[in-house]
Symmetry: C2
Subunit: 379 residues, 2 copies
């Protein structure tokens, strides 16, 4: 049966589960690589699959503008269009539109200027559902108001009010039983607003729930505080998706708070500047110290770039300096593999009932040689 979720094990607050979709099951916790324009940057779909990724994300806003959801539908829907055989999730487009300089927001929705052709356009709950119904992803997201950080209580309360009102309109507009519509808990850093929002949304008995309004500049500590508080407000028997998060240490912490699904552009974005993740921390292959380094990115890694000691750090350093896109390709393969395997290891630890120990050991090894994490995050 589609969209049923089975909670398989817990370890502390951490959860291992299985969420069924029309394009196959998702074992959680899981990381979803981001394919903004219907393509994970610098990777072919088979390379994405080979990393162990189970589900990918595509951006409604970008696809609606170009090539247009009608064309994607004509080409057989999003799965056929981007040749991804597994589950796909689309966001609502709201996050991108709210950040446009031209955005004018009111209770009806948001009006903005189309970046591609200059037209004035509206995005409303109804339109967000129409686009996502037409694209055809397995999981679609409610049109919410993502409160920026920092925010006054008044602004955050307006966000919650609109998010709840718009969710009712999304439910009314949503047309396809083969797509799971996830509402999004807003409320910024105000616990009572998060509680109010979660309570109202849970009453709607959706197939899964998201926590939004994070990864907007609040930093690791506040992200943890909000997630630790908000995750238990959601039902045990539904998957929980933390939107736009994050760095490996964020994922490890938030799995520990009971989150099941993550998405983030970090692995592929960092890959394009030859910044890669290893069990011992993050390294920048552009640094001179890697010019003659014969080791692979991570000797313990089994991705295509690392396995059998294949591509040396020195080669990757050279490729980046020579502007060869193979640098981004190999670093993307490695980083997405790192994220998916991190979630696989977390899942195995939860199934074995020892997630807290796993998390401590990972963080100890990971930070030992790591540089200070930069503040750059991305959704």
């Amino acid at each position: 049966m589609s969209f049923d979720y089975a909670l398989e094990a817990t370890s502390g607050q951490a959860r291992a589960g299985r969420f069924n979709t029309p394009h196959g099951p998702i074992q959680t916790p899981t990381f979803m690589p981001v394919g903004t324009h219907g393509a994970i940057k610098a990777m072919t779909p088979d390379q994405v699959q080979a990393t162990g990724a189970q589900v990918v994300l595509a951006n409604t806003y970008h696809l609606a503008l170009r090539p247009g959801e009608g064309l994607v539908e004509k080409l057989g829907g999003l799965h056929a269009f981007m040749q991804w055989p597994g589950p796909i999730l689309t966001d609502s487009g709201g996050f991108q539109v709210f950040s446009l300089p031209s955005a004018q927001i009111n209770d009806r929705g948001v009006r903005f200027t189309n970046e591609v052709n200059g037209d004035t356009m509206d995005l409303t709950p109804e339109r967000a559902m129409e686009i996502q119904n037409t694209l055809g992803a397995d999981i679609i997201m409610a049109f919410d108001e993502c409160t920026p950080y920092p925010a006054t209580r008044k602004l955050a309360a307006t966000g919650v009010r609109r998010t709840l009102m718009w969710m009712e309109r999304c439910l009314a507009a949503h047309q396809r039983a083969d797509q799971a519509l996830f509402p999004i808990v807003q409320g910024s850093t105000f616990p009572e607003l998060r509680e109010e929002c979660a309570k109202e949304l849970v009453a709607m008995d959706s197939p899964g729930y998201a926590i939004g309004g994070v990864s907007v500049g609040e930093g690791h500590e506040l992200l943890c505080e909000v997630t630790r508080h908000a995750a238990p407000l959601l039902p045990d028997n539904k998957p929980r998706y933390l939107m736009g998060v994050g760095l490996p240490e964020d994922l490890i912490a938030c799995v520990g708070f009971g989150i099941d699904m993550f998405d983030c552009v970090i692995p592929t974005r960092y890959a394009r500047s030859a910044t890669v993740f290893t069990a011992r921390g993050r390294i920048r292959l552009t640094h001179r110290r890697y010019r003659r380094d014969t080791y692979p990115i991570d000797p313990s890694c089994e991705c295509y770039a690392c396995q059998d000691g294949r591509f040396s750090r020195a080669y990757l350093h050279h490729l980046f300096n020579a502007n060869e896109v193979l640098s981004a390709i190999l670093c993307s393969i490695h980083n997405v593999h790192f994220y998916t395997q991190l979630m696989t290891s977390a899942r195995n630890a939860i199934l074995a009932g020892r997630y807290p120990e796993f998390a401590s050991r990972f963080l100890e090894g990971y930070q030992r040689d790591s540089k200070k994490p930069s503040k750059a995050r991305g959704r």
Copy 2:
């Protein structure tokens, strides 16, 4: 035994053969993708192998400047560096250096300014051998003077004189028995200079021979005229490599004149502007007509991008417009596959004794829907 060549069949002047190298045999005729900086642009080595490519080319000039041949050697040589398990060919670096504005050429060699660090550098026959011996390719090229087009007879004669003199110095300097040194026939468009140059080089009994000074702006007709004349000047029992050629119609014509090996940047360079080759001609996927086209690049093609009708032209059109590098990746996979399969089909036709019919039929189908070939060629 390394570097022996077996002529397996002929059909007209076209030849099917097998050339052994320390990293495996090369079945000819063959096309060699170009990996300028030690990487075929936008492709992983396993994607290159999956196209059927047997041997790849890397550029001595670029690798000597960055990362330096000594570092490549420290990292295990060119095969380990770029993780290409099959045969590799390096050029001498002369072609790139001669085209630098700073190049000063005399009988000793060429003096030029290093683009990367501004140093004054010399490239001589001895230095070209030293770099190529250090890089460690299976096939290395003589340091020759590539005469530009058009050229006076006097300039072409100087090119031949230097090419012959420098070949003697290359032979004296070349240190490794596990690398085959190919001399290069120059002489521009002057038949008697080509004859003189070929005669002297053939007397040196090299493991293979190249024809250079083509693909320098002379156009298809003159390329054919020079190749038709020069190929038979070379021994039957050695492979013949036509440098920097070309478009599919050039390869088909020159296989017919008895050429065994080709290299060109065209398949990967064109791929980056979403220009792809099909059995019915070349198409530009950026054209509006492909915006809604549900067919793969070439329905008869079995490359990763086309097989099972996988990626639509509309998707590739979209990826290019969205600046997604996956456009270049998929188009490169397709184009290199097109070139390698064209050579495989040519070889099969030669083995079956019907190359002229194959060539006619290919050209008829290929040009039927093709746009006029542009003048842009590249080495």
